[in-house]
């Protein structure tokens, strides 16, 4: 049986990316829905969507940094 190689921090980063991945999917999906229902509000929805994505992403970014630190 071969030896298992690699850093466990890689798995940690993968786990940290699950939640933000789901969250960004929800945000982007709902934003598309809002834009389709109300195209005249598309600009505002887009800005808010980027903001929401940016805040959600922070968790994955912290995981990314911990992967470097570990």
């Amino acid at each position: 049986m071969e030896e298992l190689k690699g850093a466990i921090s890689l798995i940690g980063y993968g786990l940290a990316a699950i939640g933000p991945g789901v969250g960004i999917g929800i945000i982007a999906g709902n934003a598309v829905q809002a834009m389709a229902r109300q195209p005249e509000a598309a600009g505002m929805v887009r800005t808010t969507m980027f903001l929401g994505i940016a805040f959600t992403e922070a968790l994955a970014l912290i995981g990314f940094v911990l992967f470097f630190l570990a």
């Binding site: 903001l51 940016a54 992403e57 922070a58 970014l61």
Partner: protein, 273 residues
């Protein structure tokens, strides 16, 4: 071709094309200087930072020098860039008082954009924002600006509004205040810097790996046979597609950094709503 391109540990540059760095500290420090001017050591990164600054100043200066009422293509593109930052970001997010912060946001946007564009510039292929020092410095600048703006506008009630938030049940106030304090003063600048840094590092590494794999496969086509060598062309085509994707990332990250800076300034200036 027994060796992987990124051989770690024992690395011989005559066998492998690229050596993996021993650890990741390379991303956080400057390498040895190429040359020095008046005792200041100039590395490739420092040179590119200065170049980005010069390009940004030159673009704005020559684009807006004439202020012709019938603008040419160059003046028009610079003006529409400025209008975008002013109307969508500065005034659009902060409100009418946001025009005060427009010069800072514009400088931030154009500097990050040019620094990012170095990633896909041929023969440079190195985004300066993929060294932690630059995004960290820019985000600390934003941090200083939004904290100073908050204290200047609201006085000490800016701080008490964060650590003793109104409209929250009293028994929850210490907890919410603590979380708000950490998220405002620590997580905000940190995530702002790391977002830009991580996106650019990921893109840079991805492009490097794909292009090198393609290059090595195509160069050693006589050694590994035509069937395997043809994969090199597929990698190369994929790398070109990633170039297109990176263009979007570059624009988006510059925009998001500027947008979030504006939002942070907005939350400390307009606390009422």
């Amino acid at each position: 071709m027994d060796e992987l391109i990124l051989a770690s540990g024992e690395c011989d540059l005559t066998v492998t094309a690229v050596c993996a760095p021993e650890d990741v500290t390379e991303l956080f420090e400057f390498r040895e200087a190429v040359f020095s001017i008046l005792g200041f050591p100039i590395t490739r990164t420092v040179f590119l930072i200065v170049l980005a600054g010069v390009i940004a100043i030159a673009l704005l200066y020559f684009g807006l020098r004439k202020r012709s009422t019938q603008p040419g293509k160059f003046q028009l593109s610079i003006e529409s860039l400025m209008l975008f930052v002013r109307d969508e970001v500065a005034v659009g997010i902060i409100g009418p008082t946001g025009i005060r912060y427009f010069p800072y946001l514009m400088a931030l946007f154009i500097f990050i954009l040019i620094g990012n564009i170095f990633e896909i510039t041929p023969f440079v292929n190195f985004p300066i924002t993929s060294r932690m020092a630059i995004p960290l410095f820019l985000s600390l600048l934003t941090w200083v600006i939004f904290v100073v703006a908050g204290f200047k506008k609201n006085g000490i009630s800016y701080l008490t509004g964060i650590i003793w938030p109104p409209g929250v049940p009293v028994f929850l106030k210490p907890l919410v205040g603590l979380i708000e304090f950490f998220s405002t003063f620590l997580v905000r600048p940190f995530s702002l810097a790391v977002r830009l840094f991580a996106n650019l590092v990921a893109g840079h590494v991805m492009l490097t790996l794909l292009l090198l794999t393609a290059f090595i496969s195509i160069v050693s086509i006589g050694e590994i046979g035509l069937a395997k060598g043809a994969f090199g062309i597929a990698w190369w085509a994929l790398a070109l597609a990633i170039f297109g994707f990176e263009m979007i990332v570059i624009l988006l990250q510059a925009y998001i950094f500027t947008l979030l800076s504006a939002v942070y300034i907005d939350t400390s200036v307009n606390v009422e709503h």
